[in-house]
């Protein structure tokens, strides 16, 4: 900028500041403006003007919040420089309007849900307890209502979601007692709590009720496995599987079908969610967490043992016996499909390869080609599954940033609400009066109050807007059964389970430790500051006496 323009620009700047400044400061603005012509040096004149403009701009800004005298008939206000001034009624009205508008958001169920979901992960931090063990009020109320109404479906809904095994079993039994058609709930509860002692009893009932299903047999095998782990026999089990386990797995592999009851569970969930107007997304899509990958390691281990025995038979020239063994694995692999089939993909592929090789030897070229095709298809499925797992592990950027936005908005809401409440209390405490006309505040209090109200409103809007799409996904699922976008919601909820700031910690307990350590340090610093301020402000004995 050429030097000669500096003074002119300064004058222009200061003139603008005089124009926007309140009438009370007009004379002083003119005083500073007139001095610009006398300042020695072009740059010094510009700096002079900037300093003056800063003062006037500050007063212009403050006059928006603090009531001055009537603008046009008083040249200069004493109140302007007073430490305490009456609040401008419009400011008070604006603060009130913002606070009321923010509270009105709570009337929207989606907003309430968003707020609850965003603060849920802090349960772990505050209570130093696993998040899954937090008392879910909605679920508790639902249990009471379902028990009162003898609603079997309501009880079943809670049973498959309850983290406590004993309570889950009790509710499941109550549900089946009320409606024997819900016996399949035993299977879902058993998968969630394989340590339950009732499983044997349940499995025999399930076998009678659904004799062609592989699931009860898989549950038996899983239950045997878990008991071995509990008894500490896990190291020996690979050498010699128990007879009961072998029988259970054999029955599962030879079952005509496998039904994991997902469709029944989904329909039951939707009915209960609608009946009780539940909106908690964790509970609504909770069934996808409960779904079993049906004892994947058991299936894989047993499939491997069948393949080995097939290879043994093949080596000893028993092609028919070998074929049967390989086909058993293929049958099970195809049957288990999406209910966790990818875990036996390797064995399934091997079975296809062996069948293909045997078919070639027997001159059945078409069967060999078909097996090669099916094997390659398994490869594709495996790749697809891996990609899906990888993307799930790495996380979706949109879901991650939305979760961040929602969590930040909820915490900001709390922060601004706190600021607003503290400012409000400060006004009242200062004058010991609730009369609006008597409310007087110093500038920082007014600024904090106004800032708190605006911040609260903006945070509320942001929280609502960023959560709304996920609520729509959930509502569509509940009302139409459309679960196409449920993975998006699951992804979002997975990110929502991490408290804000804990992303960079490998383990949540580390974050909990540092959080409390920092909280204690900050409290101590605050206490120290308070003591120092008190010591500085207390009346002192004169040094001369």
């Amino acid at each position: 900028m050429p030097k000669e323009y500096a003074r002119r620009i300064g004058s222009l700047l200061l003139s603008s500041a005089v124009w926007i400044a309140p009438q009370e400061t007009f004379e002083w603005g003119q005083a500073m403006l007139s001095e610009v012509s006398y300042v020695e040096g072009e740059w010094a004149a510009l700096i002079w003007a900037i300093g003056g403009a800063r003062v006037l701009a500050k007063h212009a800004l403050l006059s928006m919040f603090i009531q001055g005298r009537r603008k046009w008939n008083v040249p200069f206000s004493e109140e302007f420089f007073a430490k305490e001034v009456p609040m401008r009624k419009t400011t008070l009205a604006a603060v009130g309007a913002c606070a009321v508008a923010s509270l009105l958001f709570f009337l929207a169920p989606a907003f309430r849900q968003a707020f609850q979901v965003s603060l849920a992960p802090w349960y772990t931090v505050i209570h130093v307890k696993p998040w899954s063990q937090q008392p879910n009020l909605e679920l508790k109320v639902l249990t009471r209502r379902a028990e009162y109404n003898h609603d079997a479906e309501g009880l079943a809904f809670v049973a498959v979601r309850h983290w406590d095994a004993g309570e889950s079993a009790r509710l499941a039994q109550d549900a089946v007692h009320l409606n024997p058609e819900l016996i399949w709930v035993y299977a879902v509860v058993a998968v969630g709590h394989p340590e339950l002692s009732q499983i044997d009893q349940w499995v025999s009932k399930l076998e009678q009720w659904d004799p062609h299903n592989a699931v009860p047999h898989l549950l038996t095998a899983e239950s045997i496995d878990i008991r071995q782990v509990i008894r500490g026999e896990v190291l020996q089990r690979t050498d010699l599987e128990s007879r009961a386990w072998q029988d259970a797995m054999s029955a599962a592999f030879h079952s005509p079908r496998l039904d994991n009851y997902y469709d029944r569970l989904k329909e039951l969930d939707r009915r209960v969610l609608k009946r009780y107007s539940l909106r908690d997304p964790y509970q609504a899509i909770g069934c996808s967490y409960c779904l079993p990958s049906f004892t994947a390691s058991d299936s894989s281990r047993y499939a491997q043992s069948i393949l080995e025995s097939g290879e043994f038979l093949e080596a000893h020239g028993d092609r028919k016996g070998a074929f049967e063994k390989y086909w058993t694995v293929v049958h099970f692999g195809q049957m288990i499909g999406s209910a966790g089939g990818f875990m036996v993909n390797r064995e399934l592929q091997k079975a296809y390869t062996r069948i293909g090789a045997l078919s070639e030897k027997e001159g059945k070229h078409q069967q060999a080609q078909l097996c090669a095709y099916l094997s390659s298809k398994v490869d594709q499925e495996k790749e697809k599954e891996l990609n899906s797992l990888r993307s799930r592990f790495n996380g979706d950027d949109v879901a991650r940033s939305n979760a961040l936005l929602v969590r930040t908005s909820a915490l900001s809401m709390l922060f601004f609400a706190g600021l607003l409440v503290i400012s409000g209390l400060a006004y009242v405490v200062r004058v010991w009066s609730h009369r609006l006309n008597a409310l007087r505040a110093n500038t920082p209090s007014v600024a904090f109050g106004f800032g708190g109200a605006i911040g609260l409103l903006l945070s509320s809007v942001l929280l609502y807007v960023s959560y709304r799409p996920y609520d729509e996904i959930l509502q569509r699922y509940i009302h139409t059964g459309d679960d196409d976008r449920i993975p998006e919601l699951s992804e979002f909820l997975a990110h929502m389970q991490i408290p804000l700031g804990a992303e960079n910690f490998k383990q949540l307990p580390d974050f909990v430790f540092y959080f409390w350590a920092w909280a204690i340090v900050l409290c101590m610093v605050a206490l120290l500051l308070a003591v120092v301020l008190y010591l500085r402000s207390r009346p002192r004995t004169s040094a001369t006496t």
């Binding site: 004379e27 002083w28 040094a543 001369t544």
Partner: protein
């Protein structure tokens, strides 16, 4: 009305006024003498004027040049400021004595 809080900057301004209590001073002149920028000086002048310690008037120096705002202490201002400066000086002395250890 109470005398405004006397910050070191305010004291510096008052000291300049007390040097020639009856003389009218310009803003830029005060800024140069005290080393305070306009953004610090003018709020002080405004506060002193609010407490009636300072009187202001517009003066025209020559044609074509904008009139200037000038300031000087009022009678009340001279009394109050002398009292305040004396207190400030004694406070300074006490502090200096305490720091040098000769007061013991």
């Amino acid at each position: 009305m109470e005398t405004p809080r006397l910050s070191p900057q305010t004291l510096r301004v008052l000291e300049r006024f007390v040097e020639r209590p009856t003389a009218w001073r310009y803003g830029y002149e005060l800024s140069r003498d005290t080393g305070l920028k306009s953004g610090t000086l003018y709020p002080i002048l405004m506060r002193l004027a609010k407490h009636s310690l300072l009187e202001t008037k517009w003066v025209t120096t020559e044609d074509g040049v904008p009139p200037r705002h000038t300031y000087r202490l009022t009678t009340k201002g001279i009394k109050e400021v002398r009292k305040a400066l004396a207190q400030a000086c004694s406070g300074r002395k006490v502090r200096q004595l305490a720091l040098s250890g000769s007061g013991a």
